[in-house]
């Protein structure tokens, strides 16, 4: 280095030809790189560890609780966490049915709105419309809950009575004795549909907007009307995106807690099973949230709730994994 001649590193810069590169002694940043890269990887691994711990902790505390269960955990319809008599059949039914009906209600509307925003609305309305739908997503779920039970339910009763009177011969709409007012699974499904609509719409809009212009122009050049262009170019291109968006919406609906807790009437124990949407009941999330505050010092009861939470976790895990797989496959396909 230049220190032999007594000149500083800076002096050496003026004439790079004499002696070795003055910057050779500067830090190459390997220590910094190692620390920073380690931190980044650590944060990523932390996420992996947290998800793994959720599974492990719930499993580790659910298994002993299920062992203490007096009745069959999977097939029994009774739920009494404090009394150690709990089965998930009724919860599973209510959770899945309310979410699936919500999905069936929400998807056609979401696809319609997404098409409206991308292909039908004038530019100014499209912008405002997107903001309005986002606004719907910003409404907290507890507000949906109080709106649903105190405002919509009294009015929705008439709709339900109409369905019961005219379509009551279909098991889905059969009147359930003891459940009156709007507080039914059908009502919960309608509110859940409103809640998941913005998510499905936003994601569908994104994929529809990505439809290759060449596909659309090709369809139009062949003489297609706007609807035929959408049917032959936009919808096939967007289908995987819409399916994965629906799965994400379904996952959201399965785990929704407070809105369901507010709206759905709790059923008295020992009621006969009915396939009707006019029934009350509880979902996994609403049962857990409803039972938790009074049982926090009862370890056995909490074990039962954790077991229910584990089933809900597995349910949403499967739904989200399916959505992820669909997205991955589409990415491989389009690249």
């Amino acid at each position: 280095m230049s220190s032999i001649t007594g000149v500083s590193v800076g002096d050496g810069l003026s004439d790079p030809s004499d002696g070795p590169d003055p910057g050779a002694g500067a830090s190459t940043g390997t220590t910094g790189d190692r620390v920073f890269g380690g931190l980044a990887m650590g944060a990523g691994l932390l996420v992996v560890v947290v998800v793994a711990l959720v599974g492990i902790f719930l499993l580790a505390q659910a298994i002993p609780a299920i062992g203490k269960d007096q009745i069959n955990f999977l097939t029994s319809r009774e739920w009494n966490a404090a009394g150690q008599r709990f089965g998930i059949a009724q919860l599973l039914w209510t959770t899945v049915v309310s979410s699936v009906v919500a999905l069936l209600l929400a998807v056609p509307f979401s696809v319609g709105i997404a098409l409206f925003l991308t292909h039908y609305a004038p530019a100014w309305l499209s912008r405002i419309g997107a903001v309005l739908i986002d606004l719907l997503a910003a409404v907290p779920s507890i507000v949906y809950g109080i709106w649903g039970i105190y405002v919509v339910a009294p009015k929705f009763t008439h709709v339900q009575n109409f369905l019961q009177d005219w379509l009551g011969w279909i098991p889905l709409f059969k009147a359930v004795p003891g459940v009156t007012g709007g507080a039914t699974i059908l009502m919960v499904s309608v509110v859940l549909a409103v809640m998941i609509l913005p998510i499905i719409t936003a994601l569908s809009r994104e994929v529809f907007a990505q439809t290759p212009v060449t596909h659309k122009e090709g369809a139009l050049a062949l003489g297609a009307t706007r609807w035929e262009m959408i049917r032959t170019a936009v919808l096939p291109f967007g289908r995987p995106g819409v399916i994965s968006a629906s799965m994400l919406g379904l996952g959201r609906a399965l785990g929704e807690t407070v809105a369901v807790l507010f709206i759905l009437t709790a059923l008295p124990g020992g009621q006969r099973f009915t396939a009707s949407l006019m029934n009350g009941g509880a979902t996994f999330a609403s049962q857990i949230a409803g039972d938790a505050p009074e049982n926090q010092n009862n370890a056995d009861a909490m074990g039962a709730l954790i077991a229910a939470g584990l089933v809900l976790f597995i349910l949403t895990f499967i739904v989200n994994a399916i959505a992820r797989v669909i997205v991955e496959r589409r990415r491989e396909f389009s690249e």
Binding site: L46, V50, A138, V139, Y144, L305, G309
Partner: protein, 320 residues
């Protein structure tokens, strides 16, 4: 002149129709009908979707505005509140607003650094850091998706299972922040990831060409370029978790007095739990005022954070 021009421009189409009667020119009744029907249905879908939005906002604003419009609402807590039916004062929601904002800030402090570092790992190391990093990044990315799908009640159960059942600790408001952190991390990670991907590779290459180490490139070049998008994503994530109720119900008790202590075993108030607590007596006008006032305050808070995020994003967008 002008009339002949108009005539000639409009003329060809019917002429073609007459000349080639067998060719479908796109005007057959069935196709036009279906096209029009689709247009009507798509418009209807949009208009029907606006009904719940307008309905909710109208109800909350019309029932909640006179609570929110009074100064007491913002200045006082619920101390001195009598049993429902005996109370004649609405009193305030300051305790709930303070609790919500404070836990929200703690959540952000924990979640944002983890989320941003995870996104940096996924984009800066996962994409160009060799095969091992790419493989780990895929696992991390998958787990971020799974985490984003975890229901808030499951996050709350997990925190309870760790904190109370395993560590034998008492529930404190910070537990709520921990549960909310789990919900916020995936949202912020995803948005930050998108923003980092938008940073042009030329910037990174120029920095490397100057001999700047990778970590300094990320900290001094990539992050400042993407910072506005990251802030927007963080605020949108915060707005989302502030609307959650389940962790509050599960992990802390509603405390009707103003407190700033996030480690108080007596609990802390929040807007969702204020609404939940008062909704049991909604038939009493005082409680109803508190419920709808709380709902309006919560919507305003979430909306303000949301709009602030969008505004920052719009004002300082990365120009490509």
């Amino acid at each position: 002149m002008s009339t002949t021009n108009q005539g000639s421009s409009a003329a060809p189409a019917p002429a073609v129709d007459e000349a080639l009667p067998d060719l479908d020119t796109g005007r057959s009744g069935g196709r036009a009908l279906r096209n029009n029907a689709a247009t009507v249905l798509v418009w209807l879908a949009f208009l029907i979707a606006l009904i719940p939005l307008v309905w909710i906002l109208w109800i909350v604003v019309s029932k909640g505005w006179h609570s929110v419009a009074s100064m007491t609402w913002w200045q006082k807590d619920q101390s001195g509140a009598l049993p429902p039916g005996f109370d004649t004062n609405i009193r305030g929601a300051r305790h709930a607003i303070v609790g919500t904002v404070e836990i929200g800030l703690i959540t952000s402090l924990i979640a944002i650094p983890i989320a941003v570092m995870t996104a940096i790992y996924l984009v800066e190391y996962g994409r160009s850091g060799g095969r091992t990093n790419a493989r780990i990044a895929r696992v991390v990315s998958f787990m971020v998706d799974i985490l984003s799908g975890i229901p808030s009640i499951v996050a709350a159960l997990f925190v309870f299972a760790v904190w109370v059942t395993t560590l034998q600790q008492q529930l404190v408001p910070i537990c709520v922040a921990l549960a909310l952190t789990m919900l916020m991390i995936p949202v912020v990670t995803r948005s930050t990831e998108e923003m980092l991907k938008l940073v042009p590779n030329e910037l990174r290459e120029a920095s490397y060409a100057l001999g700047v180490p990778k970590w300094k490139t990320v900290v001094r070049v990539v992050l400042p370029t993407a910072i506005s998008g990251i802030i927007t994503g963080a605020l949108l994530g915060l707005a989302r978790v502030l609307g959650e109720t389940a962790p509050w119900l599960f992990l802390t008790t509603y405390f009707q007095y103003l407190t700033y202590n996030p480690a108080a075993s007596a609990g802390i108030a929040s807007l969702p739990t204020l609404i939940y607590n008062q909704s049991g007596n909604i038939s009493s006008p005082i409680s109803a005022d508190r419920v709808w006032g709380g709902a309006l305050t919560l919507i305003l808070l979430v909306l303000a954070i949301n709009l602030l995020g969008r505004l920052i994003g719009r004002l300082t967008r990365v120009k490509r």
